[in-house]
């Protein structure tokens, strides 16, 4: 029963929250869409924390995405032990980079008086959830060395079943606790996106690549650029 709630109902609740609240916040309080950078108040800790964290998590998420899109190729790759080790070792490396970055950021947030002033309750909630999630991920990588095969063999079909609106929880309810925690943690983070500063990942400025350097806005003319 609990598994059904967590693995078959909660994913939809989380996504619905993310979409509905995300849109609501975007249209009713666009001013609040910000990464709320605190580099201005504290520089050095941010360098070690933010850079490690962001590049680590980007690599990890990219790995998850690749596994999600081509699970069979991942399984085939893992068919030979040394290749499994290479994959697991590099994933672990990025996982530890991410964890290191996150820990630095957490320490920075609580040790700097200036940063504490700009820390909201949701920032703390988010840091705790992220810490649990990253620890669960790294734990899986260390103690279950076939994690990537499990992901491709069980978690990915399960995720597809969610997407196809016929959740098949039998794929996941026998997985170890830490792995289950990692899956639930992912949904919690998705649900938290619109309530926290995570909204900044929805507004990554891709348009910068193709817009001209200068932006000019006219009252009466249609074009806004150039």
């Amino acid at each position: 029963m609990l598994d059904t709630l967590l693995f078959a109902v909660f994913p939809y609740v989380a996504v619905a929250l993310a979409v509905v609240v995300g849109f609501y916040r975007y249209f009713s309080d666009r001013f609040s869409y910000s990464s709320l950078s605190s580099q201005f108040l504290e520089n050095r800790g941010l360098f070690w924390g933010s850079v490690s964290w962001h590049y680590g998590i980007l690599a990890i998420l990219l790995g998850h995405l690749i596994g999600f899109l081509i699970p069979r190729s991942v399984l085939a790759w893992n068919g030979v032990p040394w290749r499994l080790y290479v994959l697991e070792a590099s994933a672990l490396m990025f996982g530890i980079l991410t964890l290191w970055g996150l820990v630095v950021l957490i320490i920075r947030r609580f040790s700097s008086a200036r940063i504490r002033v700009v820390t909201s309750l949701m920032d703390i909630v988010l840091l705790v959830v992220l810490l649990v999630q990253v620890v669960a991920g790294v734990w899986t990588a260390i103690f279950y060395r076939w994690g990537s095969s499990w992901y491709a063999g069980f978690a990915v079909p399960y995720l597809w079943s969610i997407i196809k609106f016929s959740p098949d929880i039998s794929l996941v309810n026998n997985l170890p606790f830490m792995v289950k925690l990692h899956i639930i943690g992912a949904y919690v983070i998705v649900g938290l996106i619109p309530f926290t500063r995570l909204v900044h990942l929805l507004s990554f400025p891709f348009t910068y690549f193709w817009r001209p350097y200068q932006v000019v806005i006219w009252n009466r003319r249609k074009e806004t650029r150039g």
């Binding site: 916040r25 309080d29 666009r30 001013f31 609040s32 869409y33 910000s34 990464s35 709320l36 950078s37 605190s38 580099q39 201005f40 108040l41 504290e42 520089n43 941010l46 360098f47 933010s50 850079v51 964290w53 962001h54 590049y55 008086a113 200036r114 504490r116 002033v117 700009v118 909201s120 949701m122 309530f195 926290t196 500063r197 909204v199 900044h200 507004s203 400025p205 348009t207 910068y208 690549f209 817009r211 350097y213 200068q214 932006v215 000019v216 806005i217 006219w218 009252n219 009466r220 003319r221 806004t224």
Partner: protein, 503 residues
Amino acid sequence: MDIRSQVSMVFHLDKCIGCHTCSVACKNIWTDRKGTEYMWWNNVETKPGTGFPTLWEDQEKYKGGWEKKGKDLRLKMHGSKTGGLANIFYNPNMPNLDDYYEPWTYDYKHLFTAPEGDDQPTARAISLITGKHMEIEAGPNWDDDLGGSPVYAANDPNLESLTENERLALNELERVVFFYLPRICNHCLNPGCVASCPAGAIYKRGEDGIVLVSQEKCRAWRMCITGCPYKKTYYNWGSGKSEKCILCYPRLESGEPPACFHACVGRIRYLGVLLYDADRIKEIASVPEDELVEAQRSILQDPFDPEIIALAKANGISDATLASARNSPVYKFVKKWKLALPLHPEFRTVPMLYYVPPLLPVLAAVKDGNYDVTEIADAGLAPMLSSLEKARVPLRFLASLFAAGNAEKVTAVYRKLIAVRIHMRASRVKDIPEAEQKEALAQGNLTVKEAEDIWRLTSMATFDERFVLPPLAREVAVEAKVDPSTHKREVGFGFKKAGERKW
């Protein structure tokens, strides 16, 4: 040609007394909110000095503005746009709070609540950020009037252009000299802040050229703080948004000059419209350094030229704006008389705030340890015109500030300023021979009429002559989108919500 109009400015440094009234007027209106305490959209610096934030002119440190790369211009902070976005998680060239100063107030309450004792209670400084007691280590005008010169004035980046002797001479007690440099946002034609903003939140208003940060689009990627070489975009640490001087556009739209202009005690500030050719911005921003001043003048167009007027009208510039362009004191100072120069044109942002450099007591000599001017007075006009090289503030210093190192441009300005001074003295006090007066005018390349016009606009100009505001016609802007009465019913006079951090 794409003729556009720009509300632009001239600051006459000879008249600045360094009273900071402008800064205070601005602060009281715009930056007394949480997160903005440390911001000074308008500030006044002592030169030589390191300015605010400390060493802002040192672009090796802060990487602001543009640089030439082959034929192209690129932002100094980015190798490329991709390289710039790679730094989005940590901006390596961003000044942080300690490069400005930690804002504070005082624990006044303690004066009343302190227990009785033998000592007078004191009000200790409290940080406006953390709310804790703090030691004050810096302020927005920490090196005011050469305070702490060995640390501050001695580190002015512009001093690099001077010889060792010139540098020593600047510090010689009897010759010690300084002047003030008030700064606001330059509302550039090729702004570095706009170009560096990944979110596209910063924009130039087409009609009047005012550069603004959209508070709804800003996502705190904080590239603008680095991109602006003048360090005139500031990061609001409370709201997570960048903010900058808005040239008091709400005041301009209701026909009043910006608060800092209005409040200026020395009446050093002039505001008016310039017409420019937007097609040539990139071209004039890319010329070699010693041609920058002339190139930046050449983009400004003559508002009396019928051809320019026709092109401007075709571009939607109103008759009223054109009339104000013809009357613009800025046009006279910058283009007609060539007296006002841009601040650090080598940053290549094409700033639209110009400075008339300070004439100061031009010469001084130390004779037997005493400050001595008799020699100069006896020699008549000659040393005034011939020994500009020995001016108390070395020309190279001023050239480094206002002409990208091209001392010729600064010399030409000084010859004019001296000519005006001599001409007026000769015609009023009549203690200078006519020949010298003529010689001065010839060297300054000025006619009698021009010299008198310059004198008039410099020292006698009324409020309406100093501030020639174009009608910004906000009602027209509203009308373009919705019926004005509907608009007013729907949104009143602007934002109804306070910009607060709630999530």
